[in-house]
Symmetry: C2
Subunit: 371 residues, 2 copies
């Protein structure tokens, strides 16, 4: 057992000069204390939830290499909101998987195992963590299989769990052909939950149809509103998870839910239906303001939804139950598909950044820091 | 004891021809059954919550008298949303008070008492109700004193109760110099709850200052945002009740709450503060879409708030506790002030409609149907 003493780590900094800087630094690897392990990272995804920290509010078209760093310009109007991270070098990467290469006292049996990790700074050659925070991948699974077992799987399961916790019986999902959306479809098909998928193209609809999705509505079509109301009336969905965030889509979903609820109403109510209609915004593919128009009635809500507070809400036992399901169905329901596997150095190339910064539906990149 | 057989009742109808029609009809008075009473209505307020049913989406500038009715035009674009009430004559008036003039078996002891009622169709000479649904006014109080004991008092108390139920410790209120806002100030002063009042003029600020309000912020001033963040940081308010609804005010409040929360943050969080920030929209003084801009973080919510579901949430005992407080403080905390007392016939005059349809802050009209 050789304990590595230093390794590469990706750094992101917003400078007060208005630049976003990315570079790879050789940082010391913490020696494993009692109950700790050192993991050589071999697979760590670039999730939409990583891009905010990684690229900040930089103009994606402006990335170039300057003085050994990859830099981009930050529009002046967006610099003010970055005060809290200004001029700090920050490590990036929410989750990943790799091989245990060293261990402290009491964790020696972990050496050689492939484990999944969550918690930041995963875009690095090595991570030292507590052994009890590492989740061994199931037999026959690789680091790539175990790279994305937290963020997307737990978010998708968090949607159906939130549905049950808050008394809804069916769901709506936007940007529905994403990796996450595909997982959610598999969960809903398996669990018998009706799901209305909102997509933006025929190609996206085809992806979901192949997974057995029954309700697919295309927001780019002229009859979107009418089709959506039909799907909502058919499924009874009163809860939506929205990855778009900005613009009028969240409001249009609420208006359609209200119209579907009023189809069943027996008489005029000045306040609209008494059915509570909820949209949770969990992503921001569209950075414009969120607009809620007239016609939603009074029994509605829109709000942010994040995985961490949800996990806090269901507690340790709830989390273990969800993790077990992810492990049991790792190669089926929760399998992730990657567009390409790249090295840490690749992740800093302007043309590669341009590709993953697009957040194109269904495209996802995997970094192998050991390359 | 003479039982009236018919009486005047105000009617509102949206016609498929695109007109709103108001008139007074002589309707039969239901004879009181066992446990029922007949109340001669003497004081019934025109609340903002009555105006939606009363005036519908009519253009307030177009009211005129035609063929014995008061009529107004409905903009064609707004007629579609009225399908559920089309061509139906609807009675109006959420609450009121009057004298019991007749009673069925078992309720004879109520005759002669002044009672408060809630439940619709109060813009009428007589209402037949169950005796147990009528709340006798306290000794020394008149029908005018007892006219507004439900909607505004229970809504104002509902705000502080919701604050406690949902784990907040201070409040924000918009259109804060309204009758409701004045009540809320008295409740908060009495109960030691910090309240940030958002007003739109110096005159409104003066009304609240005279009631002991400590935090008053004027949205018409150039330094509104900065003053609001200071007030939010000072009070720790993370829950707002908004009577405006449309436009960007709800979003600006959330952004200011997030800024106040981040003043206390110790380090950068890419998702913003973890403090949940909530705005409940309980009125629609502004009919434009609600716009939530960037800068709210992820821990936020906006939604509709209505009295009836809130009362359902606190249950019968909770409601009795609130009602008792209203009764105990009827002439102080919960005293309403009326701009004028008018007859049913006055309420149909185009110039009077123009006055009450303005929803001017602090102005409120009382109808005495017995005139």
């Amino acid at each position: 057992m050789t304990i590595p003493t230093s390794g590469h780590q990706l750094q992101s900094r917003v400078s007060s000069a208005g630049k976003l800087e990315l570079w790879i630094e050789d940082v010391p690897v913490a020696a494993p204390g009692d109950g700790e392990i050192v993991v050589r990272m071999e697979a760590t995804p670039i999730n939409p939830s990583d891009l905010g920290l990684l690229l900040g509010p930089a103009d994606p078209a402006s990335f170039r290499v300057e003085g050994g760093k990859t830099v981009a310009d930050i529009p002046p109007a967006r610099l003010a909101s970055m005060a809290a991270r200004m001029d700090q070098a920050l490590p990036v990467g929410n989750e990943g998987a790799g091989t245990v290469v060293a261990a402290g006292a009491g964790a020696e049996d972990m050496v050689g195992k492939t484990v999944s990790l969550v918690g930041g700074a995963m875009y690095a050659e090595y991570r030292t963590v507590r052994a009890k925070d590492a989740v061994p991948v199931p037999a026959g699974a690789t680091a790539a299989d175990g790279a994305s077992v937290f963020v997307n799987p737990l978010t998708a399961l968090g949607m159906t769990e939130t549905m049950k916790l808050e008394g809804h019986t069916a769901l709506v999902h936007t940007a529905a052909a994403s990796n996450l959306g595909q997982m959610l479809n598999k969960i809903c098909v398996a669990d018998g939950i009706a799901l209305v998928n909102i997509v933006r193209s025929d190609a996206q609809a085809a992806i979901l149809r192949a997974l057995g999705a029954t309700h697919i509505v295309d927001s780019s079509k002229y009859d979107f509103e009418a089709t959506l109301v039909d799907a909502l009336a058919d499924t009874g969905a009163t809860l939506a998870f929205d990855a778009i965030g900005g613009g009028d889509l969240a409001g249009r979903i609420l208006v359609a839910m209200e119209a579907a609820a009023n189809r069943k109403a027996d008489g005029y109510s000045r306040y609209g239906s008494t059915t509570h209609k909820q949209v949770y915004i969990y992503g921001r593919l569209d950075m414009r303001p969120t607009t809620i128009g007239a016609g939603v009635g009074m029994a509605w809500g829109v709000g942010g939804w994040l995985l961490t507070p949800f996990l806090g809400r269901i507690g340790g036992e709830g989390m273990m139950r969800l993790r077990q399901r992810v492990s049991d169905e790792l190669k089926t329901t929760f399998a992730s598909h990657y567009t390409a596997t790249i090295s840490l150095a690749d992740a800093l190339k302007p043309d590669v950044i341009a590709a993953y910064a697009k957040r194109a539906t269904g495209e996802k990149y995997l970094i192998d820091p050991s390359r």
